[in-house]
Amino acid sequence: MTSNILEARNVTKTFGGLVAVNDVTLTVEKGRIVSVIGPNGAGKTTFFNILTGIYKPDKGTVIFDGTSIAGNRPDIIAALGMRRTFQNIRLFDNMTVLENVLVGMHTHLHAPFWQIVTRAAGVRREEARARQKARELLAYVGLDEKRDDLAKNLPYGDQRRLEIARALAGQPKLILLDEPTAGMNPHETDAATELIRRLRDELGLTVVLIEHDMRLVMAISERITVLDYGTKIAEGDAAAIRSNPRVIEAYLGKGAAGAAA
């Protein structure tokens, strides 16, 4: 009916007395690049964790691609086509780069136990296809030459890219990127920005990202949602957010908001 791939409505999550996410609504249209920003501790990552099923929301609904997913198990949500990266990179350190991507394909490999044990022809074909696909993905993010390195031996920027390649391996409809450029230098950030743009333009993905780098956020987001203390305080395009007094207040304090106005 609608062209919204994701509709999170009135999502609330508390930890003890702390309201981490308070009545947040976020709708994302198919094929958009959307950013969620906010000061540290605003609840952005918690919100991602609710979307991907790591946390159960106390209240609210999440509809992904027409299916209600709030409170579902994370692996089921991932299998539906929502994949993510993590703020503090979480690769499978002692597996190779290629294997990391192959793990990302798990939901698309169906070889049953008995066929694996008997190494049926179908299994070998599926495995060969998966490897081929994984290498294509690695080439896409520029890591194919490093496919046999252990993930933990990659330089930082490559690890970020590998995480994205692993997420892409699940052929997602929606990809959530949690601070994809954290800790990168300006040059690496530019490369990452370019990659994110390509995900949408070439692969037709919908991208939601959490980001602190305002240059990147303003450059590629079509819509920005601002969280502060778990509450949504603003939503709009880059220009609107830039001049929104509540956003300026959240980031710079009350005096600054007055000065800007």
Partner: protein, 459 residues
């Protein structure tokens, strides 16, 4: 380029240097005509020595260890498949059984080693692949053993006088049944511990292992199921096969007990081959990768769509199934089992095999199992005899010093030394041995210098 390489040598730790030397030796002996000559000669000398001096002695012990080492080296060498497979087959299917007819002790050691190879491979699935520390693994072995022991002997009439023991020929389907029952018990253990990790998981599995042993010890009342601490005697062996062929057609006059030794040796060998095939196929599949992903980072694994519960239970079931099947064989081979056979120490021994060989590594688990079994059954007792002989010959060793009492101490020291000097195990998983090289790189973790990388690749 040579200069870069020499610079690298200086930076390398002694461990890395010896690893490099080992690597060079392996490449030299593992390929080409050098390998054929080396392995051929080695095999010939070993076979000749074993056949001409089969009497149990220090000398035969040494050649027997060298023989097993040879089998392992051939299996791991980079020679063509026909050579590797052919020579391994000749050594295991021809040389070993013939030697076994000359000296029953050694084929029994080989059979025991094989039993523990299968157990270590099974535990390696749980601990090495999926990263679930299981300290009660021997419970599954016990379940398989008691399954056959109770159902094949008059013990079953104690449960219900109307029931009668299954005929010995049922041994074969029971090996398969052991596989299934092992898997079922694996899942039974897996269910309550799904949410536990690390130390907590270890404690609960340890408890599970003890529960099974204590059950076996106490289930003689009110209904006598396991015959309690007295254990079960006269467990049935399957009827011998091919006896006429061997005795009349081949003209080998072997006694029944010799034939049984041969029989169990081959049964164990078959199960070991089956286990190796199954485990290595699983390892390089979506299932094996999912296990390793769970071991590395459970949250990230689940975020890739891996069903955590399913995969963990599958690891427990697969690991336990080999122990269940081997339990049936073990009970039948030993003729007698009792609860202390399956105590905590046995679980720890199997875990030591996996750790010693290298967690997550299939050849490592095989080697670890063989080494620990040899130490236990052969090398340490032999050292004890040698010491006692020296004592008798007048070497001033205090009379109160009984070397046989120190076996476990020696074993412990070995393990400690191992953990200090080679914590990753003797033959770590190939991927993980790269970790070692990573540690040798200069401290800058980011951006390893391309020159060093190139040198490492070209050397």
């Amino acid at each position: 380029m040579a200069r870069v390489a020499s610079l690298q040598n200086i930076r390398m730790t002694p461990t890395a240097q010896s690893a490099r030397l080992w690597e060079q030796l392996r490449t030299y002996l593992g390929r080409g005509s050098g390998a054929y000559a080396f392995f051929g000669l080695y095999a010939a000398i070993c076979t000749w020595q074993l056949f001409t001096n089969p009497r149990t002695s220090l000398r035969t012990d040494i050649f027997f260890v060298l023989f097993l080492l040879l089998v392992f080296m051939v299996y791991r060498s980079a020679t063509p498949l026909w050579f590797r497979g052919g020579l391994t087959a000749v050594l295991l299917v021809v040389v070993m059984p013939i030697f076994g007819t000359l000296n029953p002790f050694y084929i029994d050691v080989a059979t025991q080693a094989g039993i523990f190879v299968a157990l270590a491979l099974g535990l390696n699935v749980v601990v090495g692949f999926a990263g679930l520390l299981d300290l009660g693994y021997v419970a599954f072995f016990a379940v398989g053993a008691y399954l056959w022991a109770i159902l094949s002997t008059p013990q079953i009439t104690q449960i219900n006088p109307a029931w009668s023991p299954v005929p010995p020929i049922m041994f074969y389907p029971f090996v398969v049944l052991g596989l299934v029952i092992g898997a079922v018990f694996g899942i039974l253990l897996g269910l309550p511990v799904l949410r536990l990790r690390g130390d907590y998981l270890a404690i609960v599995t340890l408890g599970f292992g003890e529960v099974i042993r204590v059950l076996a010890n106490n289930l003689d009342r009110p209904i006598n199921i396991t015959n309690g601490s007295q254990g079960i005697r006269e467990i049935e062996r399957p009827p011998l096969i091919l006896t006429n062929f061997i005795r009349e057609t081949l003209g080998w006059n072997l006694s029944d007990s010799q034939l049984y030794q041969q029989f169990f040796y081959f049964v164990v060998l078959l199960i070991v081959i089956f286990t190796v095939v199954v485990v290595s196929r699983l390892k390089n599949s979506r299932i094996g990768r999912a296990w390793e992903a769970i071991r590395e980072d459970e949250t990230a694994a689940v975020a890739q769509g891996i069903p955590r519960v399913r995969m963990k239970l599958m690891a427990f079931a697969v690991g336990a199934s080999f122990a269940g099947a081997m339990g049936v064989v073990f009970a039948s081979k030993q003729l007698f089992i009792n609860p202390p056979t399956f105590d905590l120490l046995r679980s720890i021994n199997i875990l030591a095999m996996v750790i010693l060989g290298g967690m997550g590594s299939i050849p490592g688990s095989i080697l670890g199992a063989v080494i620990v079994t040899l130490l236990d059954l052969q090398i340490l007792p032999r050292m004890a005899t040698v010491l006692r002989d020296a004592q008798r010959a007048g070497v001033p060793i205090p009379a109160a010093f009984d070397p046989t009492q120190y076996q476990r101490l020696l074993f412990g020291i070995l393990l400690v030394l191992m953990m200090i000097f080679r914590p990753q195990g003797i033959l770590p998983d190939e991927r993980r041995s790269e970790e070692l090289h990573a540690g040798d790189e200069p401290p800058s973790e980011e951006e390893a210098p391309p020159a060093a990388r190139a040198a490492a690749e070209s050397s």
